[in-house]
């Protein structure tokens, strides 16, 4: 409906402006424009009507690509590339990222209307505005007799990229620098908004220290129990003390296991308990050996190579 109105007014505009009949337009341009126009309008309607935000984002990509094609059609090659790269490549991906991040939210209560009659009045207002713009566009004269401030777009050396660069870095230098401030503000704003409030940060720290501190106290009882169970085997106790010495002195796990393995002999169960202990108190082992507590030291010593100990014992 809208498109029909648009073409009708445009036809009359064409006739009035004396641009010429349709036959003058080359067929390629004509087909390109109409295909892209249909894609753009369908995509825009799809963005508005789709229930699913992901579908809306994909429709938006479709529209953006068609707009990029129309940019190329109008000799704005650089802007078409920027359109594809920045809009379709960055902005819509950001949209999709946020949609996925938040979980797809399909709840949209359209029955409840806080501003009464808005859903009825809004389309009427928009249609009136569109009709007003089109009617004014047809009825008004082209009063833009303004001369080019920056320079012509066509026929420049270096094409539109060079012309655009000259414009941005000479005449529009000050706006360009203001965009720098805008981007910095946006970055700072995004960082501030995305930061979690400092409330959860404290438990996080505590959890981190607790990770190092909590399991360290717990293994000693376990290892004590293990020694209680294994005490009957006298060689086992021997091997244990050896392991303690090695573990306390050396971070080099290989020599330690070599020292332990011959002594252990057939005490596979013993080695296994050691390995289990080792698994518990990995990070805090060094401080415990420093204080001279032997049992956790053993645990920490074998913690460096629990797998190696087990393998050697099995063989």
């Amino acid at each position: 409906m809208n498109a029909v109105v648009g073409t009708g007014t445009v036809m009359s505009l064409l006739g009035r402006a004396g641009v010429g009949p349709l036959a003058v337009i080359s067929r390629v341009d004509f087909v390109t424009f109409w295909v892209c126009a249909v894609i753009i309008v369908v995509g825009a309607v799809g963005v508005v009507l789709s229930r699913h935000p992901v579908h809306a984002a994909l429709m938006l990509i479709m529209t953006l690509f068609a707009v990029a094609v129309l940019f190329i059609e109008q000799d704005a090659n650089f802007l078409a590339a920027i359109q594809v790269i920045v809009y379709a490549g960055a902005i819509v991906v950001l949209f999709l990222f946020v949609i996925m991040f938040l979980g797809v939210d399909r709840r949209e209560d359209l029955s409840h209307d806080p501003l009464r009659g808005q859903r009825v009045v809004a389309p009427i207002l928009v249609a009136l505005g569109l009709a007003g713009v089109l009617v004014l566009g047809v009825g008004a004269h082209w009063a833009t007799g303004a001369h080019s401030v920056v320079g012509p777009a066509r026929g420049q050396p270096g094409g539109d990229v060079a012309a655009l660069g000259r414009a941005v870095f000479t005449v529009y230098l000050f706006p360009f620098e203001i965009t720098v401030g805008l981007l910095v503000t946006a970055i700072v704003g995004a960082v501030v908004l995305a930061r979690r409030p400092s409330q959860p940060a404290v438990p996080d720290d505590e959890a981190a220290t607790g990770d190092a501190g909590d399991p360290a106290p717990s293994p000693p009882p376990a290892s004590l129990r293990a020694t209680d169970a294994e005490v009957p085997g006298a060689p086992a106790a021997d091997a244990r003390t050896e392991a303690v010495v090695a573990g306390g002195s050396a971070p080099a796990g290989s020599t330690h296991t070599e020292a332990v393995a011959p002594e252990l002999g057939a005490q596979a169960a013993d080695a296994r308990t050691e390995a289990v202990v080792a698994g518990g108190s990995a990070p805090a082992g060094s401080t415990h050996t420093a204080t001279g507590v032997t049992e956790p030291g053993a645990g920490a010593g074998s913690a460096s190579e629990p797998g190696a100990v087990r393998e050697e014992v099995v063989s």
Partner: protein
């Protein structure tokens, strides 16, 4: 000869109207953002069309700036959406009446 610029302007007006309709009628904040992007794109199309019709590179330079503004707006807007969503687990515009007068 290429398609006359007035066709492009009419298309741009239609797309802008569709985007405005979406902003006014939808409730999902993300889709409202996408509709704002549609409106910005319609404006870009009009700028490029004017740049071609008047043979002035200034229109294209303005599109460049609109792109920058759109990128910044999306970054901040989506940051706001994320922080709202973290507080109340929905992104519906009707629920956001904290600053209601």
């Amino acid at each position: 000869m290429t398609v006359p610029g007035s066709w492009y302007l009419a298309l741009s007006a239609v797309v802008f109207a569709i985007g405005a309709l979406g902003v006014l009628t939808r409730r999902n904040v993300l889709i409202m953002f996408m509709c704002v992007e549609l409106m910005l794109n319609a404006a870009n199309l009009a700028f490029v069309t004017f740049a071609r019709m008047l043979d002035d590179i200034g229109g294209e330079a303005l599109v460049f700036f609109v792109l920058v503004v759109a990128a910044a707006e999306v970054v901040v807007g989506l940051g706001i959406v994320v922080s709202i969503f973290r507080r109340r687990h929905s992104a519906t515009a009707d629920d956001l009446h904290v600053m209601k007068g």
